[in-house]
Amino acid sequence: MEKLLNLDSIRLLLGNRSAILGLIVIAFVIIVAIFAPYIAPYGPNDQNLLKRLSAPNQEHLLGTDGLGRDILSRIIYGSRISLSVGAISVGVGVLVAIPLGLLAGYGGGLLDDIIMRIVDVMLSFPSILLALVVISILGPGLFNVMIAIGIWSIPLFTRMVRGEVLSTKEEVYIEAARSIGRSKFTIAIRHILPNCFAPIMVLATLRFASAILSAAALSFLGLGAQPPTADWGRMLSQGRQYLRTAWWFSTFPGLAIMFTVLGFNLLGDGLRDSFDPRMR
């Protein structure tokens, strides 16, 4: 934990404009997600067919969709979905990758070879292709998308944890721990793992951003969230049919995705600059 809670790093982080901006954006989205029922002017699925496809007006600030649902309210509720997708898929990636990376880096030998070859194979599926492989097995659906994106994150985190382990395991204090008879397991968990927290946080923040983007893309394709879920990607795919007549339908959900993803990317960049001395 030393590295993560290093006062210098925190001071640098607080002095980093992009990190602060990112934090503000993320805090805003989290607050919106938590208090959605109090903030949203309408329910996410309240229909008013008499007012379908209304342009932004005083009653519906961002207009209504093809079923007369309030787009602002759906965007507000959609933040819950996007944040959950990011959290669950990054969580799956990190939780599976930490033991794998520790085993590969600290265990070494054949185990390392096997784990890293599996990682290589997983990385040979470019972009969202690995997620598509998983979805083609599990079938479409929001939960399956979270799992798919989580699995797609595993190789990246594993490789990073392993790299960190390799660079710390030769340090003097690890040798000291070994010489006083600490077990391999204790050394891995108590002494090596804490060194990986800072890089894991950086990668997790950046992956959070790409997880939201990928989930939105999969929902846009119809493979993720299913109707009537208020999901930003799904809203965009519905809005696409009305692009000519109702620009607001696809414009605002896209802006919401960009705003949120931007927050995580800015924070990730800021964290990297502050925690990773090599990047300064």
Partner: protein, 313 residues
């Protein structure tokens, strides 16, 4: 060097087999009976049996895999369950459209990104740098399919300058080119943003090297220092990332092809996933993954030629 190439080729063969096993197993990992899932809800028992026999699902798993691999080497990728058409034939007719989209996107992104990255690094911590890097972070945060829809709304539906969807034919004809502009712009913008960030950080790293100070202290013109001593070295890592980007563009094309109704393999893949047409899903994924691996191999080998300092051992 020769050793490195041989080792790399071996690793490619390993990856090919591993990818083929994963792709082959996708059909067998479907919860329940794959033949029934593929036949659909309204299928009769006879339909299910027909599919099972057609795909050889009643044979032992290793025999199925061996015949699958044999098929791949003979150019036989099975038949689509939906259309009955040989999958290889569909891939041959559609893959060029995807390659065209991804290739042109990279060709457009690379020079712009290198230029923007160099300008940002040269003017580091100035307004210009901040402006370029802010543009880049916006670029990587923007959903590509939304960018596509917005471009379509502005340039096709509102201004009427460009066609909204489809492929207009040959790239070298006006109609073909016009149809390409929007999808290529949409796809390349993300890569452009990403490569700009890579170029800037690679340039910054090299600019801090002592030999750059030496070059400056020799009294060389700044232009020579930047382009001859710095950029050439920084480009090596940018080219590697650009190679990887090509793979990412092939994957990204899956989404963009759907936005612009582009007749490539990406759209075919998405349709096949919906229809649970596994022969098509398997082969499309295999082809994209193998292309990506081959491109990475070519980039790695190029890298070895470009940078003799790297001893591959």
């Amino acid at each position: 060097m020769i050793n490195y190439i041989i080792r790399r080729l071996f690793s490619i063969i390993f990856i090919f087999f591993a990818v083929s096993i994963i792709v082959f197993l996708t059909m067998h990992m479907i919860p329940g009976d794959p033949a029934r899932v593929m036949a659909g809800m309204n299928a009769t028992e006879a339909d299910v049996r027909l599919i099972r026999e057609k795909l050889g699902l009643n044979r032992p798993l290793y025999i199925q895999y061996l015949s699958y691999i044999k098929g791949i080497f003979q150019g036989d990728l099975g038949e689509s369950i939906q259309t009955g058409r040989p999958v290889a034939q569909s891939l041959i007719s559609r893959y060029p459209a995807t390659l065209e989209l991804a290739g042109l996107s990279l060709l457009l992104a690379f020079p712009f990104a290198v230029f923007a990255g160099v300008v940002a690094a040269n003017n580091s911590n100035t307004f210009l740098d901040s402006a370029i890097m802010s543009g880049a972070v916006f670029g990587i945060s923007m959903p590509s399919f939304w960018r596509g829809l917005m471009l379509m709304y502005i340039f096709s539906l509102t201004l009427g300058w460009l066609p909204a969807s489809g492929r207009g034919g040959d790239l070298f004809q006006l109609e073909g080119l016009k149809h390409l502009i929007l999808p290529v712009l949409t796809l390349s913008f993300g890569s452009m943003a990403y490569l700009t960030r890579i170029t800037r950080s690679a340039m910054m790293e090299v600019l801090n090297k002592e030999y750059v100070d030496t070059a400056r202290s020799k009294g060389l013109r700044e232009q020579v220092v930047i382009y001859k001593h710095t950029l050439r070295n920084a480009l090596i890592s940018v080219i590697t990332m650009a190679g990887m980007q090509f793979g990412w563009l092939l994957g990204g094309a899956v989404v963009i092809e759907t936005v612009f109704a582009w007749p490539g393999v990406g759209r075919m893949l998405v349709n096949a996933i919906f229809a649970r047409d596994f022969p098509v899903v398997q082969s499309t994924i295999l082809i994209i993954a193998i292309s990506f691996t081959l491109i990475n191999l070519i980039v790695d080998l190029l890298y070895a030629f470009l940078d003799p300092r790297i001893a591959y051992d």
